[in-house]
């Protein structure tokens, strides 16, 4: 404040233009620039008062400062949802993170916590079908992607058999969209094409998928046992990779190859699996020219591996 007083008292400043010039100079001078506004004694009493009087239905948890906090809301089925809010300046709150499908609400600014909570509570209530469908999918099937699914992710990739996944997106009103197979399998592809038109909208997504592919609990288990048999060496058709124990991966086009130069070793690896291991051995540093060196994970002899299949 002293700076401002000096500014007013200076005799040479007698026009508005000069005043603004000086003010501009002060604002951009070093002293002012380095002031952390958090250290100024600005206390937003309205905000503090609101935190004190927040309704009992909402749980507030604070981070390192009062500026960042999360609200925990519950929906009709007692799921809890977290909304991370950030206090920018008085009466301006923004949303920093939320585990819900993307919506306009995330981009808005809110003047009070209550306003934000109210908006999100309504949104969450409208998403009940969406949550329900995703939960059913997770219960019924093995979800391969996302690795840690949350309600933010509106898709699930579920396991159909060891080489095939099904990609399903769920819209905010709880219906399925963009259903397609990941991986090459004509059998499943034919079934999907033949029966997709018989989709029963009275049933939930998980049940419809079971109907389309004739998947019952037992057949899913049988498929798993089949793949176990192949690793136990009973019915091995193609050699499996010694790192991921698979032959083919839905998102990896290569097949395992005997990459070790040591003729007595003869273990098969996916190029991508071996490359990732050699990079991990170097603490994650990427090698020059995309060629990693190290030792074979099986026989410990020197081995080289390039990033891409030759």
């Amino acid at each position: 404040m002293n700076i401002m007083q000096d500014l007013f008292n200076k005799a040479e400043i007698n026009t508005m233009d000069k005043f603004l010039d000086h003010l501009h100079g002060i604002i951009f001078s070093k002293e002012i620039k380095n002031i952390d506004f958090a250290s100024l004694d600005i206390i937003d009493t309205d905000f503090i008062e609101e935190i004190k009087n927040i309704s009992e239905k909402v749980t507030l948890l604070f981070g390192r400062s009062l500026r960042e906090f999360k609200c925990i809301l519950t929906d009709e089925s007692q799921r809890s949802h977290e909304i991370f809010l950030k206090y920018n300046e008085p009466r301006r709150l923004s949303v920093s993170h939320v585990n819900l499908p993307h919506s306009q609400l995330q981009e808005c600014e809110y003047s009070t916590i209550e306003e934000a909570v109210l908006a999100f509570q309504q949104y969450i209530n409208s998403l009940n079908a969406y949550f329900h469908e995703l939960e059913r999918l997770e219960q019924k099937f093995t979800v391969m992607e996302p690795v840690k699914p949350t309600f933010k992710d509106d898709y699930r990739r579920i396991l159909i058999d060891e080489k095939t996944w099904l990609h399903v997106e769920v819209t905010v009103n709880g219906s399925a969209s963009n259903i397609h197979l990941v991986g090459q399998s004509e059998l499943w592809q034919d079934k999907l094409q033949a029966r997709l038109l018989t989709w029963d909208y009275d049933k939930n997504i998980a049940e419809n998928i079971v109907d389309i592919f004739d998947l019952t609990k037992t057949s899913l288990n049988e498929q798993l046992h089949m793949s176990i048999d192949t690793i136990n060496g009973k019915e091995v058709e193609a050699p499996t990779c010694a790192i991921c124990f698979c032959v083919e991966l839905p998102d990896n086009p290569g097949i395992p190859q005997p990459l070790c130069q040591n003729l007595n070793c003869g273990v098969f690896f996916h190029t991508s699996c071996l490359y990732q291991w050699l990079v991990a051995c170097e603490g994650g540093r990427l090698p020059a020219f995309g060629v990693a060196n190290g030792s074979c994970p099986t026989c410990l002899q020197p081995i080289t591996c390039s990033e891409k299949d030759n």
Binding site: L224, C246, D251, N252, T298
Partner: protein, 155 residues
């Protein structure tokens, strides 16, 4: 990347459940799916841990199998290479060049190795200095203490 981790873990866990090695049972955490495994392990025969049933918890990192899993004893163990918090000092649990973790090692081989570490302590790379000294200098007393400790906590 994520896909191969889960595909591999699924096979490993199914294999552990269908053909478990001697004295080992595996339960995966329902909520955590593939990230946390609960293991029950019988103490090796002919060792002072013989009558004990030991609980272990395995945290599988996101980068598995390019990073070793973190294994901890939940049950207290009287052993030169296992500290009071259940941490295990074993080469196989560390990344090279310090340790000897390899992506070809499975969770099954890891648990079997821990089981045999119980029977064969490594006093030259100890976590508990006092127990290592006792094991080196007065093996009989160590065995006796280990047996009592096992009876107290793991039976």
């Amino acid at each position: 990347m994520a896909s191969m981790r889960n595909a591999r873990l699924m096979r490993e866990i199914k294999n552990l459940e269908t053909t478990p090695p001697w004295g080992i049972t595996c339960n995966k955490d329902k909520e955590e799916s593939f990230n946390v495994l609960h293991i029950k392990m019988l103490g090796p025969r002919g060792s002072p841990y013989e009558r004990g049933m030991f609980d272990l918890i395995i945290n599988v990192p996101e980068r598995y199998p390019f990073e070793p899993p973190q294994v901890k004893f939940v049950t207290p163990v009287y052993h030169p290479n296992i500290d009071k918090g259940g941490r295990i000092c074993m080469n196989m649990l560390k990344m090279p060049p310090k340790g000897s973790w390899l992506p070809t090692i499975t969770i099954e081989t890891l648990i079997i190795s821990i089981q045999s570490l119980l029977a064969n302590p490594n006093p030259d790379d100890p976590l508990m200095m006092d127990l290592a000294m006792e094991y080196k200098n007065d093996t009989e007393k160590f065995m006796e203490n280990a047996r009592k400790h096992t009876d107290k906590y793991a039976v």
